[in-house]
């Protein structure tokens, strides 16, 4: 069964992982800019990383028939450094037109500090000015509820954003309602230790419903599984769900979300296209 992994940090994974993902049905993925496990000392290091994400990775993925897309930003773990954040944000625009850049991400909050929040607002402003979609990281563990609430409040208060073009990721049982009820897309990340198991992800779908929700592996340099989505699909089969329901979650939903970007080359089902003419707060309804 084909699937799209909306959140996979492939710079941290081996070529064998691309091979395994392709073997298990992955046809496209998006690779958000994130923290490498240490704080970079200059904006030059970020530029190297943005070049990697927009040049080397799409070529590596293509060898296995996987479309590679990316989101660029100053990530939440380094966003408390305001000086560096401003330098990185100033350099971002020249990368946004590259062919595999879907938008700004994964921005958000980590420990929910004042500085992180200011950097988050700066990057929302950047996304609005350049009419880009946004992928948002929410904090982990005890910080998740507070951080998600602050992110949602900030976005709603901003008034310029189109919620259907924003996915708020790492949603869990206590945060998903506020995301969905405010019109955003929600991401559930299937991570073996700190995030959500396939079983709990299905439980969430049985509570909230399957619309505007995507699942992803969030595979990175930590304990994580590049094949988390096929494992999720297997768990849905164990629960006796029909293939069309599974397909909706692992392919149609991410395709529908991503098809709002003109960069995304796969077609969602016609009935699920979101960019109807005239729709949206910024008046155009056009693809970004």
């Amino acid at each position: 069964m084909q699937y799209i992994d909306l959140h996979a940090h492939m710079t941290s994974r081996t070529t064998d992982d691309y091979y395994q993902m392709a073997l298990t049905g992955c046809v496209a993925l998006t690779d958000p800019a994130f923290w490498p496990g240490f704080d970079r000392i200059s904006a030059d290091g970020f530029e190297d990383y943005f070049h990697h994400l927009t040049d080397f990775e799409p070529k590596r993925a293509a060898r296995y028939g996987i479309q590679h897309y990316t989101w660029l930003c100053m990530n939440p773990k380094e966003a408390d450094n305001r000086k560096l954040s401003k330098e990185v944000i100033a350099r971002l625009p020249k990368y946004l037109d590259r062919p595999n850049v879907i938008g700004i991400g994964e921005i958000g909050l980590n420990r929910v500090t004042r500085n992180e929040l200011e950097t988050f607002k700066d990057q929302i402003d950047l996304a609005v000015r350049f009419q880009k979609m946004v992928l948002i990281h929410t904090p982990h563990l005890e910080d998740k509820y507070k951080g998600t609430r602050l992110i949602v409040e900030t976005l709603v208060k901003d008034g310029r954003i189109r919620p259907e073009q924003i996915l708020i990721d790492h949603a869990e049982e206590h945060t998903i309602d506020m995301i969905i009820e405010n019109g955003f897309w929600a991401g559930i990340t299937l991570y073996p230790q700190t995030k959500v198991s396939p079983q709990r992800a299905i439980d969430i779908l049985e509570t909230v419903g399957p619309d505007r929700i995507c699942v992803s592996s969030a595979c990175d340099w930590g304990p994580s599984l590049p094949a988390a989505i096929p494992q999720f699909a297997m768990e849905m089969r164990r629960r006796r769900y029909a293939d069309e329901t599974i397909h909706k979650i692992i392919y149609e939903n991410p395709a529908t979300f991503l098809a709002q970007s003109s960069k995304f080359r796969m077609k969602p089902p016609p009935s699920r296209r979101l960019t109807a003419p005239g729709a949206g707060r910024n008046g155009s309804g056009k693809k970004l």
Binding site: R114, L117, K146, D203, R212
Partner: protein
Amino acid sequence: MASQPLKCPMTKQQILDEHFIENRTRLLDIAAFLDRLDRTGRDGGEADFRAEVFSEAIALLWRPSPSRVKTIQMIFSDPTTAPLALLDQKSARGAYDRDRREAP
């Protein structure tokens, strides 16, 4: 705004038949974790806010609730609303320390 929830195609009996053993194992893992804490505690370990919150969460498992998982998520969560003035640590620890003091 929300869509219709998916209806689980399995019956209660089918869920028990298929998932009882794996959840029995998880329960025993938690029991063994608590025993391990007790054993090391006898050697003079200090009280830790995470162990206290963990016990509180376990006690809530049998209390009637529309969603046990949401209730327990909130027990572990930071209930405050104001952003931190300064970054104190890079990573979360899994539970909110209710006795922590933040710099103004």
